[in-house]
Symmetry: C2
Subunit: 498 residues, 2 copies
């Protein structure tokens, strides 16, 4: 449909999109559905290319991971959005339908119209290149915006496949995909966009927000966190529940080689159950990845720097007294081969203390810190003091202990008895709080993030609100207002005496 825009200066793309936005006004529901279909088709019809290019960019990534976590996730979101966008677009009634109708009879026509913001920027990330970049872009389109996407510089092959697919399906006025290095990202964050959506680290998120502040561009920041898991005493006491919990924690820790913003870094286990928990974790890993060198079984770490970073976290912990348990004993040759392939064997660390870097850094690798506890209240107190993670997970029944865990900790979401159920089910708001981010998306939350809820109110009344605040020689209004305030003061005093 149009030339690839990576050659066009991005400020020109912005101008093109902004002019088109003003020229055309908010798109109809039919046009939005058409855009959603084109978007989804561009992704799913290139799923083989995406599987191959993501795998090439990572070093290796299993087909099932890309098809489920990236392609299918986007497809499900597209269908949900397509089915609901007509309803989400409709004017909302802050006084309810009945209140709104009554107001209208009385001469006040009151609506809140979800309105597109203009040109939305989406800064992508490499770990789930389609899921975390395409879903926000899709929501922004559905909300009637023009969209500029910046792909992560760590996935050049994927970016090219994705950009070509999108530019075949969209005019640059509607959607543009930019590629390029960190300089381009900096320039992108400094554009005078109408909203900037970013997924990545807290450090970069902070810089992005500061850049956006110059243009008063609102931001959504999807960051990460340590994503603690608590194994309740009840679960620890039930052998099959315990085994299931350990297996789910184990699998979630190695999915995408731990390069997942909702992946658990820390698990808290009742002291007596720790040994058997660790054993079950290794059993699960052994079942799932019996042979690391069977290439198609694991995702590799994204680059050498990432590999070295995780190894350094492990070595730092070991040097400071932690007990490191690797899943594989291998001779030096084996280690060399793993390092060359950027495959890190799943690892458990016991005895992590605050002095160790791993206690504070997001790991982004298949390394699980197992902590022991005596009293679950201590764990809750500890977590309450730490930065809020994207997700906190609890294994155990829906009981008062779980309620206390929910009430007294902060996190983007809470999952119980499984990995990521609070983030990956369709239609459920996904987003962090505190250090794990600001703003949410997925389903209606995404639509609302990229909409301005614009009140449109008309009056046919003979009296004006303006007269209420205008001083006048007529003191009747003043008397009425004074009486009202005095009466309300008495009401409040009666309430407080009760």
């Amino acid at each position: 449909m149009s030339a690839i825009t990576t050659s066009t200066p991005m400020s020109e793309v912005l101008q093109l999109q902004r002019s088109a936005f003003h020229r055309d006004g908010p798109p109809s529901a039919a046009l939005r559905r058409d855009r959603i279909d084109r978007f989804a088709h561009a992704v799913v019809s290139h799923s083989d290319d995406l599987v191959a290019s993501i795998s090439a960019d990572f070093g290796h990534r299993p087909e099932i991971t890309t098809l489920v976590s990236d392609v299918s996730t986007l497809a499900i979101e597209a269908e949900l959005t397509r089915a609901r966008v007509g309803a989400w677009m409709r004017p909302r009634h802050p006084w309810g339908r009945i209140g709104g109708a009554a107001g209208r009879l009385a001469g006040m026509r009151t609506q809140v119209q979800p309105s597109p913001l203009g040109v939305v920027g989406v800064m992508g990330i490499w770990n789930y290149p389609i899921n975390l970049t395409a879903i926000p872009a899709l929501s922004a389109l559905a909300a009637g915006n023009r969209v500029m996407m910046k792909m992560s510089e760590l996935i050049p092959n994927t970016s090219e496949v994705f950009a070509n697919a999108m530019h075949d399906a969209f005019d640059v006025e509607e959607l543009a995909v930019l590629t390029g290095d960190v300089t381009v990202s900096g320039e992108f964050a400094s554009l005078d966009l109408d909203h900037l959506f970013f997924t990545g680290s807290a450090r970069t998120g902070s810089a992005i927000m500061a850049a956006a502040a110059k243009n008063l561009t609102p931001v959504t920041l999807e960051l990460g966190g340590k994503n603690p898991v608590v194994i309740s005493e009840k679960t620890a006491a039930d052998r099959s529940a315990m085994r299931r919990a350990a297996e789910r924690v184990a699998l979630s820790r190695i999915a995408n080689a731990g390069q997942t913003c909702v992946s658990p870094d820390d698990v808290y286990v009742p002291e007596l159950a720790t040994r058997s928990f660790v054993q079950e974790v290794f059993n699960a890993w052994g079942r799932v990845v019996p042979d690391m060198f069977e290439e198609n079984e694991v995702t590799t770490l994204i680059n050498d720097a990432a590999y070295d970073r995780v190894v350094n976290l492990i070595e730092d912990a070991a040097a400071k007294g932690a007990q490191v348990i690797g899943s594989m004993r291998s001779d030096d040759d084996g280690e060399e081969a793993l390092r060359a392939a950027r495959i890190l064997p799943p690892t458990v660390i016991l005895g992590v203390t605050d002095e160790m870097e791993i206690a504070h850094e997001e790991v982004f690798g298949p390394v699980l810190a197992v902590h022991t506890y005596d009293d679950v209240d201590d764990v809750i107190d500890l977590l309450a003091e730490k930065p809020a993670p994207l997700v906190a997970t609890w294994y155990g029944p829906h009981d008062p202990e779980f309620a206390a865990f929910v009430a007294r900790t902060r996190s983007g979401s809470v999952s119980r008895n499984d990995f990521a159920v609070s983030q990956s089910l369709p239609g459920i708001p996904f987003g962090g709080v505190g250090r794990s981010g600001m703003g949410a998306y997925h389903g209606k939350a995404g639509f609302d993030t990229f909409s301005h809820l614009r009140a449109v109110v008309g009056s046919e009344l003979p009296i004006s609100l303006a007269t209420l605040v205008t001083p006048t020689a007529d003191t009747r209004l003043l008397k009425v207002v004074r009486q009202g305030i005095a009466g309300y003061t008495k009401v409040l005093e009666r309430r407080r005496r009760r």
Copy 2:
């Protein structure tokens, strides 16, 4: 209840509030209602003191303005919030009640819990010191947060009355009011708060957001704008509609001496009707403020700098060729007296061009720029290119022309046929977009702004989501996923052929 906190370092107040927040967890509905009552009582029971102190801080401000715009507005918001907070707090069901119940039967318990953020900071402004500072604080309390308020340094008397009233009603752990100069404001914006709410200028808002970025503190920014008014041709052609429109524009321009973030700076009038429109504006001003020196009739400008700023805008426009029409001819002595009292006579400016400062600056004084037009489409195009204002106002029927105005311009809200109906009715979201701000409050919008919508999802299913993304020797899942994607691709292709 506690010593005034202006002597306590603000970082200590933050620590106190944060510890209390973690210790107590989210407050019950009853406690929230009690806090709302205490808050409202602290304001309404001091309404005489507030009237006097605000008037002292301004120089003069009529009692009716403070009682209606500040005290009553807060009281109405408090009652609305009190009545609805129980409902707003309740868990929400992203799949609907029926979908949620079905999910639960199937083993998935899905809720979205509106959760308090922690410690919320509110930076106040002087022009409506209670309304614009107390309402966001009230919403933050209702959402279960602890609140730190920083009062504007331009209203020392008001700040003292308000702070004393609040500290009699609240423990510092619940709510603290800080006073002090711009240095204190800078320190406040740099606190590691869980949300920062600011009302003020775009320039300061940008600096506040940059400071908040360092701590990843989400911000709500309530800024301002030129708030254009369009008099449609139909209204201009109807003598009584025209008179009413002119009167409402005239009154809204001088309310609070124009020191109002939703006050109209610009009005666009059909060319043939311009003379009679200006005449009607002056007629309205003459009726309402026949004698400027009758002290209790007008609000004064907040300080000499503000007075000089507005006078400079007028003089700059005049020097560059605009026609300035003052509402009062007075000799030099009269002008001196007005300047000493900081009373600026209402003024109309015709022939404003882009070279004049007043075309770009928010006026914040009783000066109305009247522009003429031939074709309303040109006005819409012009407004679409300008920064989005807090409110855009249209005088005319609810017809396709109005619909085009709504669709093709951006603004925080749209009022039709009256001043501020889209901002001042209870329960309607209030907030800007683009240069006029980000985020909204009032009613449920305020509650949601200060809440994190936290998904809490539990699973009792025997299968885990984690297994879906884990590579396995069993390729059945991979086959199913591949087939699903291929099938969906065909569905999309069929849709596009239709």
